[in-house]
């Protein structure tokens, strides 16, 4: 058990009844916050209190609460997933906050991510980007024997680094342009590094970048704010790699 004393917090939470609602901040006081709770557990407790008081609980999303599913996510004190490096908000613990602190909580904001309710946003726009090339559609027949497709260790490791993207949308939230460049390029780079991705390599890059534009995300202006907030620490070198992939595709006549 933690020996740290429990916290008293003031929470300013964004409340919005529906997509059409204007929305506003509401302030809640929460006493006796255990420093070992995660941020979402703290909100669960607050919601229990709200329900007890006959009020509408705060709507927020979560699934695994282990930092690997990409379901949770909102802006805590002006930082996507909070101030802690490489964490999702479900893995952000209350011990990182001070007693008596005021915490401002609002949803990820982007034109492509409309707010559905309170802290829940619609991230379907990201699925539409994936739909345009974030997969391999070649018919490979029955499973091949092990190690029939040689992948150099270096490439496998690098591809994996980009494959760790959980699609939480923090990069979009943290970008001054609300660009999904880090997300999109992570997929492009991941598949460009592996032989399995090569048959559709040229088509993929143009299609996915076009889809990003169509979904209403901004363009990358290389501010690198995304990289700082990415819970999986995905590197902006992927964006350069995807840009290079675009040149390559153009030179090959795509």
């Amino acid at each position: 058990m933690s020996e740290k004393k429990n916290l008293r917090l003031t929470l300013k939470v964004w409340r919005q009844d529906g997509p059409q609602d204007q929305g506003r901040f509401e302030t809640y006081e929460l006493d006796n916050v255990n420093p070992d709770w995660s941020f979402l557990e703290m909100l669960d407790i607050l919601n229990m209190k709200l329900v007890r008081d006959g009020k509408e609980p705060i709507a927020f999303e979560s699934d695994c609460r282990e930092g690997i599913c990409g379901t949770c996510g909102f802006v805590v004190n002006g930082r996507a997933h909070g101030h802690l490096h490489k964490t999702t908000v479900c893995q952000l613990h209350m011990r990182h906050f001070k007693d008596g602190e005021t915490i401002v909580i609002e949803p990820f904001r982007a034109t492509a991510f409309p707010v559905l309710k309170d802290l829940i946003i619609d991230r379907t726009a990201m699925d539409f980007i994936l739909k345009r090339g974030g997969y391999i559609s070649v018919n490979v027949g029955s499973p091949p024997d092990a190690n029939t497709i040689p992948v150099p260790k270096h490439n496998a490791d690098k591809a994996f680094d980009f494959a760790t993207c959980i699609g939480c949308g923090a990069c979009v939230a943290a970008c001054p342009n609300a660009s999904a460049a880090l997300f999109t390029s992570a997929k492009i780079t991941h598949l460009a590094l592996l032989p399995h991705g090569h048959p559709e390599r040229e088509k993929r890059v143009a299609e996915m970048l076009t889809a990003m534009e169509e979904q209403g995300f901004g363009g990358c202006s290389n501010t690198y704010a995304c990289e700082v907030e990415c819970p999986k620490g995905i590197s902006i070198t992927g964006i350069a790699k995807a840009n290079l992939e675009y040149w390559r595709a153009k030179l090959k006549g795509h």
């Binding site: 534009e213 901004g218 290389n222």
Partner: protein
């Protein structure tokens, strides 16, 4: 399916920007002739005017500038559209100058209008001024003119600090060894351009 990837706009912006940087360096070299006195400066100016290569590059320069401005406005407008509701409280994890390219760009454009009107128009177009040296030195005697000049170059310095590094990333070049070197060159470039141009203007204001 009529949308084009944002990357096309960025590539045009990067390539024209790099070309404009090249021009800034050459222009700075030419400006140093101002410190060598009236005769040297005016001879240099005439020399440039009679150089056919310079005349061709000049056309390219105007086209680049125009494209850079048009695409800059287009990119900014698109990016602003991408967030229709702004954050009530946000702590951006990127320096202010990387987010303010539109602002530094606007100041530089305003400066260019004043700059071309005070030097290029009377010397080249209307032909009112024959002695470029006198024209330049007289302009810099005005503290407001010199003040605005220096201010514009401070904005240009911040613009370049992001621009140089960003152009390579846009063109797909990010390398574990060379990118840190590119960043250092960016700092040298931004400081060199700002200090170089400003120093000549201030020297003209004080001494010439």
């Amino acid at each position: 399916m009529n949308a084009k990837p944002y990357l096309l706009r960025k590539i045009i912006s990067a390539l024209t920007g790099l070309f404009l940087i090249m021009f800034l360096i050459v222009h700075l070299y030419d400006n140093f002739f101002l410190l060598l006195g009236e005769q040297a400066f005016n001879i240099k100016a005439k020399e440039l005017l009679n150089n056919p290569f310079i005349r061709v590059v000049e056309v390219l320069l105007f086209i680049s500038l125009l494209l850079h401005v048009i695409y800059g406005i287009y990119i900014t407008a698109k990016n602003k559209q991408a967030r229709n509701t702004s954050y009530k409280k946000i702590n951006w994890q990127t320096p202010f100058y990387k987010r303010m390219m539109w602002l530094s760009g606007t100041v530089i454009l305003l400066f260019l209008v004043v700059h071309l009107q005070s030097f290029l128009v009377p010397y080249r177009i209307t032909g009112e001024a024959n002695n470029l040296y006198q024209l330049v030195v007289l302009s810099f005697k005005n503290p407001f003119y010199t003040g605005f000049y220096v201010l514009a170059f401070i904005f240009l310095g911040f613009h370049l600090l992001h621009a140089w590094e960003s152009a390579f990333q846009t063109l797909g070049f990010n390398h574990p060894v060379f990118t840190p070197i590119i960043k250092i060159i960016g700092w040298i470039l931004a400081l060199g351009i700002t200090i170089g141009y400003s120093a000549i203007a201030i020297a003209a204001y004080i001494q010439l």
